[in-house]
């Protein structure tokens, strides 16, 4: 396992996320859901699967396709309300980010069952959060996956906050992984700030799924250090002390201590990589600015593969 590669992916995610918040503050994109602190979960998961495995994302994993080659500016275009952000899921093995909570989890099940039916051995990983865990579709998907023995890993980023709702108000269990037993699947909770722990747990679940052992639930325990999104003000509902405590545990600095301690990295190399990643994202921001605005035809296209003719309701109004 290439720990340096894992670390570089985390640094890339951090640079993407911080640049996106900056772009929002400068008015270059609209509201943006930050994932600051959740880089270990996302990067480790991408490394734990094969390129042919598909990832089913919520909005807080909006940068995961970037780890698989989507240009950052195209990912950010989504947050400036630009359909140029739309991509071909099969090109990156990523379903487009799901805005409703948990409704993409059944898609992961269907995709996994569908691939198996066609003789494939691919695995689907579905990301969701503690808030989404309360939605009916999450329950239905986990039950369906278990009944079908579908090769799916349900990966819950439990950052303990759904906008202003704390985990204690979201669920009456200490750990969401406890619910796995109710679906007849293995469940485990790991430290979501520890990339190696996440990697181990997801890799084990993926391996089990691939060899026909059915779905698993992995809960990555962490804390939403940032706001829900750039439009959110956490000071309305939680104290800064708790957040400050968790900020000290954030995954990248911790991982770097380990890598430097093991002699894999020097402090200078750490700084240089952050500088490099930040510069790359700054350049991507410039490319975003120079992307042409979308046209009306891009709004009306692709509603249907076979549009009716004539279709008066799909025509732009004359002015």
């Amino acid at each position: 396992m290439d720990r340096l590669r894992l670390w570089k992916m985390m640094v890339q995610l951090r640079a993407y996320d911080e640049r996106a918040t900056l772009l929002q503050r400068q008015g270059r994109i609209g509201a943006y859901p930050t994932f600051w602190g959740e880089e270990a979960i996302q990067a480790a998961t991408v490394l734990a699967v094969r390129d042919t495995d598909w990832l089913f994302l919520s909005y807080r994993q909006n940068a995961v396709p970037v780890l698989r080659g989507l240009p950052p500016e195209q990912a950010w275009a989504y947050f400036r309300g630009d359909p140029h952000s739309f991509f071909d899921p099969s090109q990156f093995g990523c379903a487009p980010q799901c805005v409703p909570l948990s409704t993409h989890l059944p898609h992961a099940v269907g995709w996994a069952v569908g691939r198996r039916l066609q003789g494939g051995d691919e695995v689907a990983v579905a990301f969701f959060g503690d808030g989404a865990s309360s939605e009916g579709d999450a329950h239905e998907a986990m039950n369906l996956a278990s009944v079908f023995r579908a090769p799916v890993v349900f990966l819950c980023t439990n950052n303990q906050w759904a906008i202003s709702t704390p985990f204690s108000r979201q669920a009456a269990v200490d750990r969401l992984s406890a619910r796995a037993a109710g679906y007849g699947m293995p469940g485990v909770t790991v430290d979501g700030y520890d990339p190696l722990a996440v990697l181990g747990a997801v890799a084990e679940a993926v391996e089990r799924a691939r060899r026909g052992g059915g779905p698993s639930l992995v809960e990555a325990w962490c804390y939403r250090i940032g706001p829900h999104a750039t439009a959110d003000d956490p000071s309305l509902y939680r104290g800064e002390e708790e957040t400050a405590l968790w900020r000290q545990r954030e995954p990248i600095g911790r991982f770097e201590q380990l890598l430097v301690g093991d002699g894999l990295l020097s402090p200078q190399e750490v700084d240089a990589e952050h500088e490099r990643a930040s510069g790359a994202m700054r350049a991507a921001g410039h490319r975003l600015d120079s992307m042409p605005p979308p046209t009306g035809e891009e709004m009306t296209a692709h509603v249907l593969a076979v549009p009716p003719a004539p279709w008066p309701g799909n025509l732009l109004r004359r002015s």
Binding site: P83, F86, S90, P100, T103, L117, L144, A301, V303, A305
Partner: protein
């Protein structure tokens, strides 16, 4: 008198009891292809497409060994196996979502939503995902899924088993909504729907499942299946309808014929997109228009048809466009459903109003 429910309803099936007639479970049932019921036509279309395309899979509650509550999938699990005719847990949102994922994996799922109202739990999946996927992936990830929805009243069914939610689906951009009114259309249109690259809501008039018989022609004109069809030509008034109300309109046309009024019956077949050309051609010819459906009147298909006629054929009209529709009430308890459902007499009265 119907012995199970002790009422006169003139329907072949009374859902007050189980349909006790023997169910055929193999394709041998189609030996007598001249006289198949609508539900047999559905079964035959599914069988034909399962055989023709390994990407076609069926999903739904009780569709496997049992063959579905209406037996629309009778014999299919036995022939194609439980990996292609898939019994699901009772979770409509979940298995419509599974169908979305199957489309992403390159399959062509056909989902049975057991009854009209059972589509409501899946509404978010339909609106937020099924209808939007092509658009939000710039056309790269189409959704060639079919949702089969047995719908409508007149079968003495329990509460929330008789709804007509077609207009809800028509209001969602990204869906195609069709409904047959005969066994031959059911067969051809369902085979077309399964091959169509966009998501199709296939509304099956459950009242007609066993009350009418027809032949399986295997219509080969795919474009034609989104076209409305004049099923009875006439000159004095156009009666526009679809699905379960079509036989009622034909009944009304017989009565009108005896009164010397020549009624043209236009079966829309596709509710979205509407065949504006056919609607306008007929109305311009007869100069009168009545729209009939059993779904609630307000904001229904009738309103859309009336708007099309008002915009494009205003000066061809010699009378007001009249709607004969279900009432703006929750579908009633079945002792009152005959008061709710449009009948031939009411259509005749509406035609008289349109002719005044």
């Amino acid at each position: 008198m119907c012995s199970p429910c002790h009422r006169r309803h003139g329907r072949e099936i009374c859902s007050g009891v189980r349909d006790s007639r023997p169910m055929t479970t193999s394709s041998a049932r189609l030996d007598d292809a001249d006289t198949v019921t609508l539900v047999q036509a559905v079964d035959a279309a599914l069988e034909a497409e399962l055989a023709a395309d390994p990407r076609v899979v069926l999903l739904g509650e009780d569709i496997g060994r049992m063959g579905g509550v209406f037996r629309a999938t009778a014999g299919l699990e036995a022939r194609f196996g439980e990996t292609r005719v898939i019994d699901t847990p009772a979770c409509e949102a979940g298995f419509v979502g599974v169908a979305v994922g199957m489309c992403l994996a390159g399959l062509r799922p056909v989902v049975e939503l057991q009854f009209d109202s059972f589509s409501y739990p899946a509404f978010e999946q339909i609106v937020c995902h099924l209808a939007r996927y092509s658009w939000r992936t710039a056309g790269t990830a189409g959704m060639p899924a079919v949702l089969r929805v047995p719908y409508g009243g007149g079968t003495h069914a329990p509460e929330l088993h008789s709804d007509s939610p077609e207009a809800l689906f028509c209001h969602v951009p990204g869906l195609v909504v069709v409904t047959p009114s005969s066994p031959s259309d059911a067969y051809s249109m369902l085979r077309w729907a399964i091959r169509h690259p966009d998501p199709v809501i296939f509304m099956e008039p459950k009242r007609l499942y066993r009350s009418i018989r027809g032949t399986l022609l295997g219509d080969t004109d795919p474009e034609g299946l989104l076209r409305a069809r004049v099923i009875r030509p006439g000159t004095g008034v156009t009666i526009i309808s679809y699905g379960p109300s079509v036989p009622t309109c034909l009944e009304a046309a017989d009565v009108l014929g005896e009164q010397g009024v020549s009624a043209e019956i236009l079966d829309l077949r596709a509710l979205w997109p509407l065949d504006e050309e056919a609607i306008l051609a007929s109305v311009r010819r007869t100069r009168r228009c009545v729209v009939v459906h059993e779904a609630a009147r307000s904001c229904g298909i009738g309103a859309e048809v009336a708007a099309i006629v008002a915009q494009h054929a205003m000066f061809s009209l010699d009378g007001p466009v009249i709607r004969v529709a279900g009432l703006d009430v929750p579908f009633p308890m079945f002792m009152l459903e005959d008061l709710y459902l449009p009948n031939a007499g009411q259509i005749v009265v509406a035609v008289e109003e349109a002719l005044r």
